[in-house]
């Protein structure tokens, strides 16, 4: 029911303040209201943006019934324009009478083409996509969340935008996943795209940091085994309205020295505009469960030396419940709008102990004190507590121990024949990540007039993360270096402050050319302080602090980076159909060497909207745009890579020593990626079919090579030198088709596909150790020795390390002397196919994805076999467990070869069934639009990887381990029930 409610005392106070500020300007105005509905179905369109053309503040979003109301519209003839992702924009004229309300209703047609969608990231101000020459990906996250609740931002993007890959699972709940855009743009620097939230550069760390404090050996690879926590999981996905993605250098030039990996900008929701507060309540429940495909099903056939029957690791799999509640409110007046939200959720892993409890509070407030000024204030606090799963390349990996043991060694204490540490002891460990985070900012916008605007933004992301690990006194943790308990405590303080200023000026030039000039600057200061304390060897059970350890130690590390950039860009338009953009960014950065100055990044874009030519195409072609772009962007070195430095470290027994560390490089500069891209968009049959395709070629020069000094020449670290080069060549295609659109039934389908080939083209004459980076091959390519011969050896006393030779002889595989190339670490082809089918109030959505071409070092497979475990080996033994020709063959082969397998897979990634509760029922509960959805994620996959999950990666979000999977955690199946209602 749409009834007026009292907004509360604070609301009126706020409005009064705004009214006082705005009072002198309120004269001769009227209001406009109406509804926005779907032309075919007649259903209301939610969150459509209705705007009075030429007035940036006279705008409102539609509510759940498609209604809008705009107050304070200047009297006289006005043009109103309504936009919504997935629909063709519409405009209508209306005459506004002073002190009166005019009704203007809109009906929008669905559109599979996004050319008229407005984007702002990297474009020098808000602009329609059709005017931008580079490809900008976008995703309506709010709409996605309605049908498919996800808890982690990286899942939001998975298989939704061509060219963007979410890959590499490794840990349990809260564990990190890597994100990649258009392949690998560096072979020595982090490859995760830079993330902005509402213009504020934020922490997106997904790799471990406890090893960066000089205390590596105390924690093996990390507290939890390398996967670490993903700071993107701090975000409340329900706060996100949409995401814009700059995929390549030609689009991301204005982001300068940190954008080679692409830029992702997250826009959170804003106030709705005039009208009562719209509350949105979400209740979710469900569970996750691992696929029971762990290769230990044969274990119960065996008993250990004390008669214990071995346990199958699949018996550790449990249902991990998930419960979530989120509440948000959107409302305001013409002069003040707000969005507030709160989230509380708990998700438990399928292998326990492992859970994530998080909460967040957000307030986004917009003030419009005058027609010229707009003030946006955003504040978000998040608390994210994760009981991390022990996984990864780690002595205390829980599943690692259960899966990599030998069932014939099973004992009462080690029923899985655990490889190193008893599972029961690992389950008594406590590994926690506890993060407090505040992200906020202020944006001041001033419109001198509609053609000359200024925007000044300031924001900070502050993360305080505490990680801890506790080994109880009594456990058998010897292999992990712990005999009588240990406590590790790590603190990470991260601060990133962003300041940016942008001015836009529109003016006319001769020959019908219009110019849109943008200029300004952007800077950020990022600092990170890491501390770790270790207490080893407790005097007895019952204590758990660092100070209680007999041996205590600590570590500390600090880094900071300062970047300042100036930018200018001009977009020239000719007859609203041909658009030429030229731009330049200049950056100075504290990470550049002393002898290096400013880096310049130019770009140029061309876009031609051919559909503006009437009669050029058959009637079926409703839109056609050609585009091309070229641009450069960079990737800065590590904060102190340019410094020649000597490390202070204790030697002997706690004596201070100083040793050569980093040779430094005074000429160190950013890696520079230049990219050229061409593409087109076609709309057919009134935009019912939308086709978008792009082809790109990106070349990174000055790529930083870790040029190792010969050990005889001293420095422990390699020198970072800008002498390398690599290429990414690829294509992306998207087809969206509104197959049927009727009042009672509609069906939309979409296919996204992309391909990428990556190649290292130069290492400046340097040969790097190992094969991960070799000229002529993909960065992080997968190499290994291959079998090259087989014979049966009758003599000898051992067979691949097994005692004696069976009567059948010793099957002996030989291997190549050198490592040989298998393939790239990332898929060369990614595809996804989504379908949404609605019948009356029921909607069925599904997403199927495919990956092909990627390989990985399957370290688990031979390791398990060498341990005498794994179904593959145990299944080849005789009925009484005796060695056979086949089992010896498998064993010997695995004792000399590291297995390499393909990651190719087809995955049923998402499926959901949503019921829009009819109003007659929802009104019974006094609620508005209400939906109930049942969804599943990652329900099934098909692969040939000889592994439990082809996307496994032992260090999760670490950029440099994507080519191997070892002791990693597979991704679970997730089942969720969600109720969303508005009131």
């Amino acid at each position: 029911m749409s009834t007026t409610r009292s907004p509360g005392r604070w609301y009126w106070s706020l409005s009064a303040l705004v009214a006082i500020a705005a009072a002198p300007l309120q004269a001769q105005t009227g209001a406009v209201s109406g509804t926005v509905t779907d032309k075919t179905t007649g259903l209301p369109i939610v969150t459509a943006r209705v705007q009075v053309v030429g007035s940036q503040n006279a705008a409102a979003n539609t509510d759940d019934r498609g209604r809008y109301f705009i107050r304070g519209v200047s009297a006289g003839a006005q043009s109103l324009r309504v936009t919504r992702i997935g629909f063709r924009p519409e405009a209508q004229s209306a005459t506004i009478a002073a002190n009166d309300t005019v009704t203007v209703n809109f009906t929008l047609s669905t559109s599979a083409v996004e050319l008229q969608q407005v984007v702002v990231t990297g474009t020098g101000g808000a602009v329609e996509k059709r005017k931008v020459g580079a490809s900008i990906g976008s995703l309506d996250v709010a709409a996605q969340q309605d049908i498919m609740p996800v808890t982690n931002f990286t899942q939001v993007l998975a298989s939704k935008v061509a060219g963007v890959r979410s890959l590499g699972v490794g840990g349990g709940v809260g564990g990190s996943q890597d994100l990649r855009i258009r392949g690998i743009a560096s072979f020595s620097l982090n490859q995760r795209p830079v993330i902005y939230i509402d213009g504020v550069r934020v922490d997106s760390r997904a790799s471990e940091w406890t090893t960066a404090t000089g205390m590596a050996a105390t924690a093996c690879c990390s507290f939890s085994g390398g996967t670490s926590t993903d700071r993107l999981s701090d975000l409340n996905p329900n706060d996100i309205e949409r995401v814009e993605i700059l995929k390549g250098a030609s689009a991301a030039t204005l982001y300068g020295s940190e954008a080679s990996n692409g830029v992702i900008q997250i826009f959170t929701k804003k106030g709705r505009g005039e009208g009562r507060t719209q509350w949105n309540l979400g209740l979710g429940t469900g569970y996750q469960r691992l696929k029971e495909n762990l290769p230990t099903k044969t274990f119960p056939r065996f008993t250990g030396p004390d008669g214990t029957r071995a346990r199958d690791a699949n018996t550790l799999i449990e249902n991990g419940p998930w419960n979530s509640v989120d509440l948000s409110g959107q409302g305001g007046t013409q002069r003040s709008q707000y969005f507030i939200s709160a989230l509380g959720s708990k998700e438990v892993g399928s292998i326990q102990p492992n859970d994530q409890t998080k909460g967040s509070l957000r307030a986004n407030i917009t003030f419009v004190p005058t027609d010229k000024w707009t003030v946006e204030v955003r504040s978000n606090y998040a608390r994210n507590v994760i009981n991390e799963l022990q996984a990864g390349n780690n002595w205390t990996a829980l599943l690692g121990n259960a899966m990599n043991g030998n069932p014939r060694n099973a004992t009462a204490l080690k029923p899985f024949g655990e490889a190193w540490v008893p599972v029961s002891d690992i389950q008594n460990m406590e590994t926690k990540s506890d993060a407090d985070r505040w992200t906020g900012g202020v944006t001041l916008s001033y419109a001198f007039n509609s053609n000359f605007t200024h925007r000044l933004g300031f924001g900070t992301d502050a993360v305080n993360e505490q990680k801890s690990r506790f080994f109880p006194y009594a456990g058998q943790f010897g292999p992990a270096g712990v005999t009588f308990g240990q406590r590790n405590l790590g603190l990470r303080n991260f601060r990133s402050t962003t300041v940016d200023y942008l001015s836009t000026l529109n003016f006319k030039l001769p020959f019908g050319i219009e110019s849109n000039l943008s200029f300004g600057g952007q800077g950020f200061w990022e600092s990170q302080r890491l501390n770790i304390a270790v207490g080893n060897t407790f005097p007895g059970p019952g204590v758990s602090t660092v100070a209680a350890g007999a041996v205590t130690s600590g570590g500390e590390a600090f880094t900071e980076t300062i970047n300042l950039g100036l930018l200018a860009q001009d977009r020239f338009s000719w007859n609203d159909r041909l658009f030429l953009t030229v731009g330049l960014r200049m950056d100075g950065n504290s990470a550049f060497g002393d002898d290096y100055g400013f880096q310049k990044y130019p770009n140029a874009q061309l876009s031609y909207d051919l559909s503006k030519h009437t009669g050029l195409f058959p009637e079926a072609v409703s839109a056609f745009r050609l585009r091309g772009s070229w641009g450069k962007t960079g990737k800065m070195p590590g904060p102190f890579d340019s410094f020649t430095s000597y490390s202070a470290q204790p030697v002997f027994e706690d004596v201070p020593g100083i040793v050569p560390l980093n040779p430094g490089n005074k000429s160190l500069r950013p890696e520079v990626t230049s990219e050229r891209e061409v593409g087109f968009e076609i709309g057919l049959w009134n935009d019912r079919v939308g086709i978008e395709a792009s082809q790109y070629f990106a070349e990174t020069k000055d790529a930083i090579v870790n040029k190792a000094f010969a050990p005889s020449q001293g420095f422990n670290q390699a020198q970072r030198v800008n002498i390398g080069a690599l290429q990414n060549r690829g294509w992306e295609a998207t087809v969206n088709y509104s197959v049927i659109s009727k009042a009672a039934f509609d069906w939309t389908t979409g296919i996204k596909a992309d391909g990428n080939k990556n190649k290292v083209t130069s290492l400046g004459g340097v040969t790097l150790a190992g094969n991960a980076v070799r000229v002529g091959y993909p960065a992080q390519g997968v190499w290994g020795q291959k079998p090259n011969g087989f014979s049966v050896v009758q003599g000898g006393t051992s067979c691949g390390g097994l005692a004696g030779v069976g009567s059948f002889g010793c099957p002996t595989t030989t291997r190549t002397a050198a490592q040989e190339y298998f393939g790239p670490p990332l898929p060369t082809f990614n595809g996804s196919w989504s379908n949404t089918i609605r019948y009356k109030s029921l909607s069925l959505y599904g997403l199927l994805s495919m990956e092909r071409g990627a390989w990985f070092g399957n370290g688990d497979r031979p390791y398990r076999i060498r341990q005498g475990g794994s179904d593959e080996y145990l299944g080849a033994l005789g009925p009484n467990g005796e060695r056979t020709f086949k089992s010896d063959s498998i064993f010997q082969w695995s004792s000399i070869l590291s297995h390499v397998d393909k990651r190719d897979n087809v995955r049923l990634r998402e499926i959901s069934l949503t019921w829009q509760v009819p109003e007659k029922y929802s009104s019974f509960f006094k609620t508005g639009k209400t939906s109930v959805s049942f969804s599943g994620q990652n329900l099934q996959w098909w692969d040939d990887c000889n592994c439990v999950d082809p996307n496994m990666n032992w260090a999760g979000g670490d950029s440099f381990t994507i080519n191997s999977g070892f002791l990693a955690q597979p991704s679970p199946r997730q089942y969720r029930l969600q109720v969303r209602t508005k009131f």
Binding site: K508, N536, F643, Q649, F652, A710, S712
Partner: protein, 444 residues
């Protein structure tokens, strides 16, 4: 809307002015400081330079246990009980100069070369900071010894390496010669030290080092002279601590039951272990005396829990008791080794009487029967090597002993490397070497 020319527009002019001002104002804005490391100039300081010298020696200590770890795996002392393929390769004696991966065998040479570099750079810095007094400073003696001892250690395990920074490869025999030269120069400096305690410490250390270098270089008379000059009871240890990674001992980490159990006593000798073991706790046992298989030799202790396998889950595990934790110190030089060096020098002169006179005191101290004077060269060699095996058990000498006396095939079987090959990292990064380089190790 305006139609004024682009560059006359106030905003554009403003942008130009703003940009210029911003660029000018940037001077100093990008200055950041790394608080956890020193810059090059920071170290040219009379207070800090001592830590530079200690840093160089610390690197040597950290390198030496790595050398002991890997060369013991190649020898008949230890065997890989890990699941690491590159450890298996070392343990099986299957290594090539063009190995497919960098492999664990490269690390000790890399580390020893880095400690040599650190010592040489420290010597230059000490000369700069202390000026004329540098050559009478114990710091200079310390780093000169580190420089020489790094060479000596490389020669003990590797068949090749670079004699100079970024230089071409040379056989290990040249390393021994170079070590002798460097140690002789260092000894001259040590003898010039004014502080008596410093002088005694460094003269003994350098003399003992030169005794070993001379022995391996084939200068037996010089080795004897040096060995006899080292006083009884002399010990120079590599010192480790449990606290942080760069102070810990790799041997304690990998070979003891409390830790990784990645390497244990080679199966060849499992049947020579005397002791009774149970399944509940670890018990210490001993390898039998080489001369009397019924007598446990306390110099070669192992620990075992009945039925326990190495982490490879393949065969019985016997841990090495000598290095009980990651803080266990490691012998670099001892007067006991000097007795062995003197004994070998006597043996080379066929003076078996004096040879056993040098070998027997250690046996008697450990409750073992004295060795009778050998009557044949073979018996003398067996006695010498038996004692070297026992006294220097898992101290990094055995690989070279088997190589020097050409015993790899007879002790361990044919087709094995006798020494470790040149570091892959040195081959790939040295300006004087190229991929495919490396002609050894010799295969038995």
């Amino acid at each position: 809307m305006t139609t004024r020319s682009f560059f006359h527009l106030p905003p554009v002019r403003g942008l130009v002015v703003l940009s210029t001002a911003a660029l000018m104002a940037c001077d100093g804005v990008f200055d950041v400081e790394d608080p956890q490391a020193f810059g090059n100039d920071d170290l040219n300081n009379a207070v800090i330079v001592k830590n530079v010298a200690d840093g160089a020696e610390g690197l040597l200590h950290q390198s030496y246990d790595d050398m002991v770890q890997i060369s013991s795996l190649l020898s008949d002392e230890l065997e890989s009980t890990s699941t690491w393929i590159d450890w298996e390769n070392i343990s099986d004696g299957k290594l090539r100069a063009d190995e497919a991966t960098v492999g664990s065998f490269s690390l000790p040479q890399d580390q020893l070369l880095r400690s040599r570099y650190a010592a040489q750079e420290a010597a230059d810095r000490i000369a700069t900071v202390l000026g004329a007094s540098a050559n009478t400073s114990p710091l200079m003696v310390q780093v000169k010894w580190v420089d020489a001892f790094s060479d000596l250690s490389i020669g003990m395990a590797y068949c090749e390496g670079p004699l100079t920074q970024g230089g071409p490869r040379s056989p290990n025999t040249e390393f021994f010669k170079q070590a002798v030269t460097k140690l002789t120069a260092a000894l001259t400096l040590a003898n010039g030290l004014t502080n008596a305690a410093d002088k005694t410490k460094w003269v003994n250390t350098i003399t003992a080092s030169r005794a070993r270098a001379n022995l391996f270089a084939g200068n037996y008379d010089a080795a004897l002279t040096d060995a006899l000059a080292v006083p009884a009871g002399f010990v120079k240890n590599a010192v480790y601590a449990e606290a942080a990674a760069n102070q810990q001992s790799a041997t304690g980490n990998q070979f003891h039951q409390n830790r990784n159990r990645s390497g244990g006593l080679r199966r060849l000798y499992h049947n020579r272990v005397l002791g009774s073991f149970n399944t509940a706790t670890y018990t210490v046992g001993y390898l039998a005396d080489w001369m009397d298989a019924t007598k446990p030799d306390p110099r070669m202790a192992v620990n075992r829990k009945a039925g326990e396998l190495g982490v490879n889950n393949r065969f019985a595990y016997f841990g090495i008791s000598k290095y009980a934790d990651r803080g266990a110190d490691q012998a670099l030089l001892t007067s006991r080794e000097m007795n062995l060096i003197a004994a070998e020098a006597y043996m080379r002169r066929n003076d078996y009487t004096n040879m056993v006179a040098k070998l027997n005191p250690d046996r008697i101290t450990n409750g073992l029967a004295a060795i009778p004077v050998p009557t044949t060269a073979a018996a003398a060699q067996a006695a010498l090597l038996g004692e070297r095996f026992a006294v220097l058990f898992v101290e990094g000498h055995r690989t070279l002993d088997l190589h020097r006396f050409n015993l790899v095939t007879s002790v361990m079987g044919a087709g094995r490397n006798t020494l470790l090959p040149l570091s892959r990292n040195e081959i790939l990064a040295s300006p004087s070497m190229k991929e495919g380089e490396g002609t050894c190790p010799r295969v038995s």
